[in-house]
Amino acid sequence: MIITRDPALMQIVAVSLRVTGTALLFSTLVGIPLGSWLGLTRFLGRRLVIALLYTGMGFPPVVVGLSVYLMLSRSGPLGSLELSLIPRLFTINAMVVAQVIISFPLVAGFTMAAVMGVDPNLRQQVISLGATNWQATLAVLLEARLGVIVSIIAGFGSIISEVGAVMMVGGNIESATRVLTTAIVLETRKGNFDLAMALGVILLGLSFLANVIMLRLQGRSFEP
């Protein structure tokens, strides 16, 4: 199936990449600034925000799926509004929403830890060299790049392999919302272990490839 580029398989891979890629993009766009802000500033209620973030890092995906399901269902508080901005259940957009909720606390939490690990004097010293606040934050993020990339890898890992939430809000609809993990579950239940294994290998391969790309982004940071 892999060699012949089976259209059904390619469709599943494409949906997986689209859902995970979009969710990771949003998680990164929200998580890195949030993590940087929490790591660099002190304000009243910061500990509470961090406690909530840590709780979010341990959210069971199936509970996230259930919550999103209830929110987006036609009788739910958001679904009943029937606004074009609010995604419908059993669509790719609904799956993206669930995956963003799962992964952004990880991206934000690990980014915060990485930023807090950078020598606090660095920010003051680059500001003394004439950096704006934004340039100083960027300098700190670049120093923390190893940890920031790890945060993205953690976020990616949490959603590429996730099955409970996407099954619940996506519905595992063929040619529409079926992704690699939900396809593996389905094929295993049907007794098609060869196909399930093949899908598993593809999933592992994609995960490996994504992590290699991110390691390249880390550059020479891993060198002693």
Binding site: V126, S128, L129
Partner: protein
């Protein structure tokens, strides 16, 4: 007619209820090396942070040349970029020596980064290390990189916060020579905070003694060391002040 770079009038700095610095009046002249000595906790580094506009004073007036007076808010970027500090414990970026020295020029969008970086590294004797990773440098080399990254942006005022603390005599000598040349050749105003009264004597034109957040005495270097007006200055110079 004086040509003051800084003029401080009744400037105070407090953190919460605790006032850590109060300067009734202080002028720092253009082109001079101004030494600030005093024991630990005297407020020397706090004063330097105010002069570098890293923090605004809690009250009082801090004038910088004729272009800026503190009003409680942060100094504008163009004013901040005319001053920089070399800290006692410099934190270098996790990149090459070149990348560290080029940083201040990059954020300014300078067009001649390569030429300027090479020039300044030659001045501080680190041309051979231009491609080396900054994290592998010795303490003396790292401090010279910190000095180079400050010099390359050609600041009007260079603030030095214990720049040679914990360095070996060879590196102390090198850094003192660089600072002296910088002041003589470029007429850069230098404010030197140091524990080391001998270093202040070697480098400064005028010296101030700071004790418990207050300026005790400001005098030309010769008067400060040979004919101090205040008995506390005399005790500090003789090394009798325990801290």
């Amino acid at each position: 007619m004086t040509d003051a770079v800084y003029r401080l009038k009744k400037v105070s700095k407090a953190y919460g209820p605790r006032e850590v610095l109060y300067v009734d009046f202080l002028e720092i002249q253009r082109g001079e090396v101004f030494g600030i000595v005093g024991p630990s906790g005297a407020g020397k580094s706090t004063l330097l942070r105010l002069l570098d506009f890293l923090e605004p004073p809690t009250s009082g007036q801090l004038h910088f040349t004729d272009c800026y007076s503190s009003n409680g808010s942060r100094a504008p970027l163009d004013v901040r970029r005319r001053v920089t500090t070399v800290f006692q414990r410099s934190v270098l970026l996790n990149t090459s020596v070149y990348g560290n020295v080029a940083y201040g020029l990059k954020i300014r969008g300078d067009k001649e980064i390569q030429r300027k970086v090479k020039g300044v590294l030659e001045q501080v004797g680190l041309s051979d290390l231009i491609r080396d990773r900054a994290r592998f440098l010795s303490g003396g080399e790292a401090q010279r990189v910190a000095l180079a990254r400050a010099m390359v942006i050609e600041p009007e005022v260079l603030l030095l916060d214990e720049p040679t603390a914990n360095l070996d005599p060879y590196n102390v000598g090198l850094i003192e020579d660089i600072v002296t040349d910088l002041n003589r050749e470029r007429d850069t105003t230098i404010v030197l905070v140091t524990h080391n009264v001998f270093q202040a004597k070697r480098l400064a034109h005028r010296v101030a003694l700071l004790l418990e957040g207050k300026v005790v005495e400001v005098a030309p270097v010769q008067d400060f060391f040979e004919a101090p007006r205040d008995s506390r200055t005399a005790a500090f110079v003789r090394g009798e002040m325990v801290y």
